[in-house]
């Protein structure tokens, strides 16, 4: 039994030391976002394999959100350009698999970016809903 109208399902790749605590903070503050948001934590957004993104969409997720470390990455000063390069690669792979590249989003979520994360989830769900209507 579903609690509400079906909502777009989002898989979030978070990062252990930066964006995951930011997402935790949203919960600690009881900020609500959709229960259709699932989170898999990783060490760093530079390590996301494009194949995981395509696999997630094929398995039924409507979108994948990479909550990157942004400029705060404790590993790589150039984490953002590296992650951006991965996004490019992933988008190419998505196109090859007839998946709209709009189903992938990336943003730096810092360890205190709780509001930011919740806003991203709400907006991404809206964008994904529009994608379904087309």
């Amino acid at each position: 039994m579903k609690s509400k109208e079906p909502q777009p399902k989002i898989l979030v790749f978070s990062t252990n030391s930066i964006s995951d605590p930011g997402i935790d903070l949203a919960g600690s503050a009881h900020m609500h976002y959709s229960t259709e948001v699932q989170i898999i934590p990783l060490p760093c957004s530079s390590g996301v394999k494009p194949s995981w993104i395509v696999h997630a969409i094929k398995q039924g997720f409507d979108g994948v959100f990479i909550a990157g470390c942004g400029g705060d990455c404790s590993f790589l000063a150039d984490c953002t350009p590296r992650t951006s390069a991965l996004i490019k690669k992933a988008q190419d792979l998505m196109k090859e698999n007839d998946i709209s590249p709009k189903r992938l989003k990336m943003s730096g979520i810092c360890s205190v970016c709780a509001d930011n994360f919740v806003a991203h989830m709400n907006n991404f769900q809206k964008d994904l809903s529009k994608l379904e209507e087309k």
């Binding site: 039994m1 579903k2 609690s3 509400k4 399902k9 898989l11 252990n16 030391s17 930066i18 995951d20 605590p21 997402i23 935790d24 903070l25 949203a26 919960g27 600690s28 503050a29 009881h30 900020m31 609500h32 976002y33 959709s34 229960t35 259709e36 948001v37 699932q38 989170i39 898999i40 934590p41 990783l42 060490p43 760093c44 530079s46 390590g47 996301v48 394999k49 494009p50 194949s51 995981w52 696999h55 997630a56 398995q59 039924g60 997720f61 705060d72 990455c73 404790s74 590993f75 790589l76 000063a77 150039d78 590296r82 991965l86 690669k89 810092c110 360890s111 205190v112």
Partner: protein, 579 residues
């Protein structure tokens, strides 16, 4: 599907923090038949000693080789449960922590059905990961036996000396041109009447004598990189000179700012209305009868809770809702100090509640018995201060006299202001430490990890964390010192072995990983007939930048392997059917 694994799954109620919003029994039941799961149970508090012992009994009795606990954020209890797994005889890297509180129950307090379904999916992903876990051994690296203390107030100075006592080298960075912090100019302080200025002076004298402490004043952090055990920091000293430091840990002793009342708040801005710090600035340096602007003071009114325990209103859109803790103690102690002076001074203390906890209660009692008058004003009807032809008049409703209105003529009105977070945007931007609702720096866990932060190796020392008395600040600072000392005295830190590994069957040596690795952790070696990549374990940081770069899918990060992540995606995308 037979996995050949024996996995135990334990779902925590966290009192009601999880179970009020997630049907934890339904979660345990839903995953009981997942491949490899041999036991699936609930505990009221998985972190309690009793629950841990029961889980260890299950590990031993059922010969578990994998463990999943769904509870709070891994930031709180991952290490607790890793240690428990080891005590039970499972390799601690075969334990998987599922974040069912911060990332499920607390984020979805409005949707129990949805939160329960999400919880099931999260736990399934955890089980999938545990099913593919392998035993690993921690990696040991050397730490830099030096500490950077940020802030040279009483907490920073005392902390620096304690670190120095341990034989660690200390750098202190103070933003102001003069070290000593807020209390350096203050006189008698609660509870033991020592002068703030004397305490600061003795600490500073001692700091200057230590060969292993370097104090930088007029210094600001401009860069920070590195990680626990090995931070690299750049300070700008005297507005220009850049000093590079390499330290193993940092103490944040940046202290607080005093609340600055708005114009007109309790008459602030009128001549004769001052804050407690402003009052101390002149009164602490006077001998004999109290005077203000050269005139003797006969009647002084103290107003408590200024800038503390505020309610949101039009005039106060961003209230400080917290109690500043130190102010009642400071106010009642000041009453005793004034009673000690010659002359017939009348003092009136207008308060909401007196919170002189612990030993400070005796100071409050002394103030009352020696003649200071205390009047309790109602929360919603604060005293008003007006300038009349006869001078300042304070009007207050005395709650304990049935709300009777009392007018007091005052030569001086002292607003007992609370503490507010220190404004330090550049530093906060560099440190990226979480901030609480009140705007102070947030600890990792208020009870269990009270001076640690989400950034490993960075510790909170004093009132930067929350309003504290001097004794409490120093206590917190010394707690931070013992955490930093415990970390650095060992000389090494055990780093997680969650680093890159090479599949030598797949690797065809193309040097892409070598180019991608900023740490020089990849080398080329001969392996049988061919050349393959080799990971230097002490250099690899495990961030995984090499993984998606490899054209042959030959690289994985331990604990986050391609197989594991793919299985987690499969597990958490599976349809959840609940009754």
């Amino acid at each position: 599907m037979a996995t050949g694994r024996k996995i135990g799954v334990f779902i925590c109620h966290c009192g009601g923090n999880i179970s009020d919003y997630v049907d934890v029994k339904a979660v345990a039941a839903a995953v009981a038949n997942e491949p490899g799961v041999v036991v699936s149970k609930n505990h009221m508090f998985t972190c309690s000693d009793a629950a841990q012992q029961e889980m260890i009994d299950d590990i031993e009795g059922l010969e578990l080789d994998g463990l999943v606990i769904a509870s709070c954020s891994p930031k709180l209890h991952m290490f607790t449960f890793r240690d428990m797994a080891e005590r039970g005889g499972i390799n601690k890297y075969q334990y998987v922590h599922v974040n069912l509180r911060e990332q499920c129950s607390w984020a979805h307090t409005n949707d129990k059905v949805g939160a329960t379904e999400k919880g099931i999916a999260l736990v399934r992903a955890g089980i999938a990961k545990a099913s593919l876990s392998v035993p690993l051994t921690a990696l040991r690296v050397d730490t830099i036996p030096k500490v950077l203390v940020i802030g040279a107030g009483i907490s920073g100075l005392r902390g620096a000396l304690a670190l120095s006592d341990m034989g660690l080298s200390v750098f202190i960075a103070e933003k102001e041109k003069e070290a000593g912090g807020t209390v350096k100019n203050w006189g008698r302080m609660a509870p033991d009447d020592q002068h703030g200025s004397a305490i600061v002076k003795s600490l500073l004298d001692e700091v200057k004598m230590r060969e292993n402490i370097m104090l930088y004043t007029d210094a600001e952090m401009i860069e920070k990189s590195g990680y626990i055990g090995d931070f690299k920091v750049t300070l700008r000293v005297g507005g220009k000179e850049a000093v590079q430091l390499q330290v193993g840990a940092m103490l944040i002793a940046t202290g607080f700012d005093s609340y600055e009342p708005q114009e007109g708040e309790f008459g602030f801005g009128l001549d004769g209305v001052v804050t407690l710090p402003q009052f101390r600035d002149f009164a602490d340096h006077q001998e004999g009868e109290l005077t203000y602007n050269g005139k003797p003071v006969k009647n002084v009114v103290f107003v408590y809770c200024v800038g503390s325990r505020q309610k949101k209103s039009e005039a106060c859109p961003e209230p400080n809702q917290y109690c500043s803790r130190y102010c009642c103690n400071a106010g009642t102690h000041m009453a005793v100090c004034l009673e000690d002076r010659p002359g017939d001074l009348n003092q009136y203390h207008l308060y909401r509640d007196i919170r002189t906890y612990g030993h400070n209660e005796t100071i409050y009692e002394e103030a009352r018995t020696r003649g200071a008058v205390f009047m309790r004003y109602p929360d919603a009807e604060a005293p008003t201060v007006a300038n009349t032809a006869d001078g300042l008049v304070v009007t207050v409703k005395d709650k304990l006299m049935g709300g009777e209105e009392v007018e007091i003529q005052a030569d001086l009105v002292v607003l007992i202001t609370g503490m507010v977070p220190k404004k330090n945007p550049t530093l906060m931007n560099l440190l990226k430490l979480p901030i609480s609702k009140d705007g102070f720096l947030n600890e990792l866990h208020i009870k269990l990890r009270p001076v640690e932060t989400v950034i490993d190796g960075v510790f909170l020392a004093g009132a930067a964390q929350s309003p504290k008395t001097m004794a409490e600040s120093v206590g917190a600072s010394l707690a931070a010192v013992s955490k930093a000392g415990g970390l650095l005295m060992k000389g090494y830190v055990d780093l997680e072995p969650l680093i890159a590994r090479v599949d030598t069957d797949k690797c065809l040596w193309c040097d892409e990983c070598l180019k991608a690795c900023p740490y020089g952790a990849i080398e080329k070696i001969n392996f049988g007939e061919k050349e393959v990549a080799f990971v230097v374990k002490s250099l690899c940081k495990g961030e995984g930048a090499c993984v998606p770069i490899c054209p042959h899918d030959a690289l994985d990060i331990e604990g986050y392997t391609d197989q594991q992540i793919t299985a987690m995606i499969d597990a958490c995308s599976k349809e959840v059917v609940t009754a």
